[in-house]
Symmetry: C2
Subunit: 217 residues, 2 copies
């Protein structure tokens, strides 16, 4: 058990080092050597967890989604929560920031960036399908279409927030995004009860209700 | 007059060459020398129009907006039209593609990318203000907020379309964006009359109703 915990910690250390190096040098220029040096681990330890630079990037992508939020009576509320918490984590966690940076880096040679979006879209579509099954969505809504749009819009919103003010206003912008998109997809009675407050994510985190999913060792 | 026309043509040639070079080599690595060679113009001609690499980028940004569409009774229809036409131009005009590529290039050292978004947001906000004055918007809508959201969302949508299929489905995605956003901002009677068809832009262009704004010589 202690051994598994150590492995999880080492994996996290490596991912954080890789995120920092990718962030500073860009994916294309970054080398495994620099990541090893930053992480302070052996080559063997790194290759035990990640077989290549691309696998490191994939590990960083997965980290973005490795959070479980408390279940809510409304699945749309869970969707809102995941967006607000992602906004907060983008502002405060370098690893999550690196994940989005990689996904949006058009100059990342040899990196397939579609898995980053794919995983994120799948998660969103799953929530929307549950919302649909629960009668929370207007009849015309196609969960697959809406999931792609939501993820795309969120990406653009965080990009503009980064350009304008280093993401300082990201939560506010995500609230505005939900205020614009939800009336087009939610049944009015559900819409009226959603909590889309800017400080909701901070509240969830402060109450210690955000628990990381156990990572593979 | 002929002289001015020649100047306009030269300016366009230089911008197209710069767009191609930025696209292939990235903004940071591209040199004025390469752009000169590609354009086949003299150094003097280039510096007559553009004082620096950054001014070339700014010229490319401006090109994205240098289109005048036919006026419509509804300002929201004009907003929809500009989005659909931009989607079409992104698919078909390398210069417009380069403009968005530059605006989203996080690795573009020394390039202030905010003007690209700023110009685009201003244009959108102007249309929304006119729509509001004409009673087309729901009372709670803040044109400045909605303009930033629309431009950010459009940016994300085109990015995902590029990743998925080289923007082949961009018009369809922009239609989906409008279908999701407009119910949150438009008065129902206006919403019901909007033409948000995927092939509307192609129709506008085919009918020759898209005339470029005269450029400064």
């Amino acid at each position: 058990m202690a051994r598994q915990e150590r492995a999880i910690r080492t994996r996290r250390t490596i991912l954080e080092a890789a995120a920092a190096v990718f962030d500073e040098r860009g994916y294309t220029s970054a080398t495994i050597g620099e990541i090893l040096e930053r992480a302070g681990v052996t080559k063997g330890a790194l290759y035990f967890h990640f077989g290549s630079k691309e696998e490191l990037a994939l590990g960083i992508f997965e980290e973005q989604l490795a959070v479980s939020l408390p279940p809510q009576p409304s699945k749309l509320q869970e969707l809102v929560d995941s967006g607000l918490v992602l906004a907060l984590r983008l502002r405060t966690e370098p690893l999550v920031r690196a994940s989005v940076g990689l996904a949006l880096d058009q100059g990342a040679l040899g990196l397939d960036r579609t898995p980053a979006f794919g995983m994120w879209i799948d998660q969103t579509e799953r929530l929307l399908n549950e919302a649909k099954a629960g009668g929370e969505l207007l009849p015309h809504v196609d969960p697959a279409e809406t999931a792609e749009l939501l993820v795309a819009s969120f990406s653009g919103v965080q990009l503009l927030s980064q350009l304008r003010c280093q993401r300082e206003d990201l939560e506010r912008r995500v609230v505005i995004l939900f205020h614009h998109l939800l009336p087009g997809i939610a049944v009015p009675a559900v819409l009226a009860r959603l909590d889309i407050a800017e400080n909701r994510a901070a509240g969830l985190v402060a109450q210690g209700r955000m628990e990381p999913i156990a990572e593979a060792g």
